[in-house]
């Protein structure tokens, strides 16, 4: 059961600032919310009367829709703002955008931005709760949380699990949130990818570096395979997508040599045939779609807790509606 004495900070900017108990609280609070999405009437009144702005400066389909569903299933009033077609495209600064939102007395902002630190920047300047939906190469905490929830569903616990994060760790906010979340909950974490795509001093975050994908497959219980941004090739980090697939691609042939069945995660969107082969993505050990399902529950939990909801109510809310 969730610990009712644990609370969250005003903003969710990343998993690095959270304690093990705070992460556990979110995951535990997500459990009762999973069920809400399985109902005929997918709505609880937990955030009725709250106004939430989804501020997306960067293109996103999955994360934006997932947040929007989470908000709507909690009965919040939501507004979506995309960077194009807003005052942002007219040159408004982030601080002015923030001040204007604040002036409209909103309760929460979900922000996706191309600059690392943008969520923290906003959070320091407005009273509303800020939820980071991905900032540059920094963090994507709700993705990290949904990955944790999915692994916990699959294995029963996170502690002691061996998780290899594979691919473009350098540019990945998903990788950073995963590293913090997993290590705080007691998992062993390795990163695997070409040295050109691994950040400096990454070992000091408490992770092992595995140079070859074969090593990761031998070692891990689960692989979290990162999307390889296609522009990385133009930037010279890798010579070609073809070679990347040959050397680092997660293929069924490579997985067949693993000592055990590996659980496969991917934050999406996938480049089939580059970092992951289709038969792996669609295979029996892939939890890629359950990740998406859990994303809604985890985001409901985060929204609910930041709005001041107690974990007890989450359980009660979902039960009382069942009657």
């Amino acid at each position: 059961m969730p610990d009712v004495s644990t609370t969250l900070p005003k903003d969710l900017v990343g998993l690095e600032p959270l304690s093990r108990d705070q992460i556990q609280l979110i995951l535990d609070t997500a459990e009762p919310f999973k069920e809400v999405s399985e109902r005929q009437i997918k709505k609880v009144p937990a955030l009725r009367g709250k106004t939430i702005v989804n501020l997306f400066f960067e293109a996103s389909t999955r994360t934006r829709i997932s947040f929007e569903f989470a908000e709507k299933r909690l009965s919040a009033d939501t507004v979506n703002v995309a960077a194009s077609g807003s005052s942002v495209s007219k040159g408004e600064t982030l601080v002015d955008t923030a001040r204007n939102l604040e002036a409209m007395r909103i309760d929460m902002v979900v922000i996706r931005h191309q600059a690392s630190g943008a969520a923290q920047f906003l959070g320091k300047r407005i009273r509303s709760n800020v939820i980071n939906a991905g900032d540059g190469k920094h963090e994507h905490p709700t993705q990290g949380l949904l990955d944790l929830l999915t692994l916990r569903d699959k294995f029963g616990k996170i502690e002691g699990l061996k998780v290899a994060i594979c691919g473009d760790v350098l540019h990945s906010r998903v990788a950073r949130s995963n590293i913090w979340g997993l290590t705080k909950l007691g998992a062993e974490v390795a990163v695997c990818g070409p040295a050109t795509l691994l950040p400096r001093d990454i070992r000091e975050l408490g992770v092992t570096v595995l140079p070859r994908i074969e090593d990761a497959i031998q070692w891990a219980d689960a692989l979290n395979i990162l999307r390889l941004q296609l522009e990385r090739m133009q930037a010279g980090f890798i010579p070609s997508l073809r070679e990347y697939n040959r050397v680092f691609g997660v293929t069924s042939e490579r997985l067949a040599r693993a000592p055990k069945d590996l659980v496969i995660l991917h934050p999406g969107p996938m480049n089939r045939g580059v970092e992951i082969d289709s038969d792996v993505a669609d295979g029996p050990h892939s939890v890629i779609l359950p990740q998406v399902t859990n994303g809604v529950a985890v985001r409901m939990a985060v929204l609910y807790l930041l709005a001041g909801g107690s974990p007890d109510w989450a359980t009660a809310t979902s039960r009382s509606d069942e009657r």
Binding site: E16, T93, V95, A115, Q120, F121, G136, R176, R200, D201
Partner: protein
């Protein structure tokens, strides 16, 4: 002009290796006498008891933004900030708009400084026309108009051929070539030091190698040409090693370090503080320590502020989009006292050397001395008194400093240029 008599201060003059309580007597803009129990009935007497009296500080590296960005700083406001920080002279980098790359532009800065009548301002001319890194600027014409060095600071000199030519050609005029050492192919897109903090914050880093490669190149070219290379704002332990070896070989290499590089590390970027964004970036503990030791043993000759004013709007934004640099003229002395003298690393005379006498020597400027007959450029400060860095107290037009709100040792009470009071508290 009424004579001045500074009574009973601790007079420190590295140029004559003297340090002791004495009076300093200033007549007609010159040092008339330094000694015990000087009496001068018509002089204005200033009690210097408990104060340090030293040659006016000299900053070899400031950005005064005029012409082009007068809303950030002007020659006058920068010269005023300098005087308030205890500097009697500063060297203004040429990355103005238009670039200070010809004699008229150099002459303009000289005239603006004379009109302001505060700290002396010595222009540094550009190495290349428009700082474009292609065609050599007219060093001779610029020196004739008052330039004391050449530099493309703010932009690295990418072409080794251009740097070689500059080092050769500058010898005709006896001026140093000051270089901002940065390999832009390694630093492109970077906003902070590449290391654990950049990894955690998800910011693109600038590896130490980006600086060190250019330091090594410049040293090799100094050896090839026999020219005087001055290495700006050194930030890494690797650079310190390279300079130390070059000096052991007797090459004409001099170097400077900024207060922020001996005071802060990349940890200060935590929270995406844009006032901790500078180029070169704040580095690691071991780098900071190497810079401090290099200032002690003279491997790095001088402290220079790299005073870089920016508007608060420009800094009040996403870290990636914020400009590099901080103001530094008014905190340089205090930071040096706090970080170098306080912990016992540098003695006060060593500090005055690094901030005045050595600076005058390596750029061949007047000043840096209290010798009888020298122009009376001097500073008097109370090393024990404390002050708080507050916006209202800052004389610079800009306020971009990571030290706001901090209590600092060392209060500048008097700055003289040619015997004229240009700052008094």
């Amino acid at each position: 002009m009424r004579p001045l008599l500074l009574k009973g201060g601790r007079v420190i003059d590295p140029s004559r290796r003297t340090d002791g309580v004495a009076d300093v007597y200033v007549v007609d803009g010159r040092i008339e006498a330094v000694g015990m129990n000087i009496t001068a009935p018509d002089a204005e007497v200033i009690d210097a008891t408990g104060r340090v009296v030293a040659p006016g500080l000299i900053d070899l590296h400031v950005h005064l933004r005029e012409p082009g960005q007068e809303e950030l700083e002007t020659v006058a406001s920068g010269a005023m900030a300098a005087a308030a920080g205890g500097f009697s002279a500063v060297c203004a980098m040429p990355n103005t708009d238009p670039v200070t790359d010809n004699q008229a532009a150099v002459g303009f800065i000289v005239r603006q400084a004379m009109r302001a009548g505060k700290a002396r301002v010595y222009p540094i001319g550009a190495i290349s026309l428009g700082q474009k890194g292609q065609q050599l600027a007219e060093f001779g014409e610029m020196v004739g108009a008052g330039a004391v060095a050449v530099s493309d600071d703010g932009k690295p000199v990418v072409s080794s051929q251009l740097m070689r030519t500059a080092l050769e050609y500058a010898q005709t005029f006896g001026i140093p070539v000051a270089d901002h050492c940065e390999d832009p192919t390694l630093s492109a897109g970077g906003g902070m030091h590449e290391g654990l903090v950049s990894t955690r914050l998800g910011l693109k880093g600038i590896p130490s190698a980006a600086e060190e490669i250019m330091v090594a190149r410049d040293i090799i070219l100094a050896e090839l040409t026999g020219g005087h290379i001055h290495l700006c704002h050194m930030s890494t332990r690797g650079s310190v090693d390279l300079i130390r070896r070059a000096k052991e070989k007797g090459l004409r290499v001099t170097a400077e370090a900024t207060p922020h590089h001996f005071a802060l590390t990349h940890d200060r970027v935590e929270g995406y503080d844009t006032n901790a964004k500078m180029n070169p970036p704040l580095r690691e503990d071991a780098d900071r320590e190497a810079i401090r030791q290099a200032l002690k043993d003279g491997t790095i000759d001088v402290i220079a502020s790299d005073h870089a004013p920016h508007h608060y709007d420009a800094k009040e934004r996403e870290f990636d989009d914020a400009p590099n640099g901080i103001i530094g003229l008014e905190t340089a002395l205090s930071l040096a006292l706090r970080e170098l003298v306080g912990p016992g690393l540098l003695t006060l005379p060593e500090l005055i050397d690094r901030m005045s006498t050595a600076a005058a020597r390596i750029f061949r400027l007047p000043g840096g001395t209290l010798a009888v007959g020298a122009p009376a450029d001097l500073v008097m400060f109370d090393p024990a008194a404390r002050w708080v860095v507050e916006k209202d107290r800052i004389q610079s037009k800009s306020r971009n400093t990571p030290f706001l709100g901090e209590t600092m040792p060392g209060v500048v009470e008097l700055t003289l240029v040619d015997g004229q009071v240009v700052f008094r508290r």
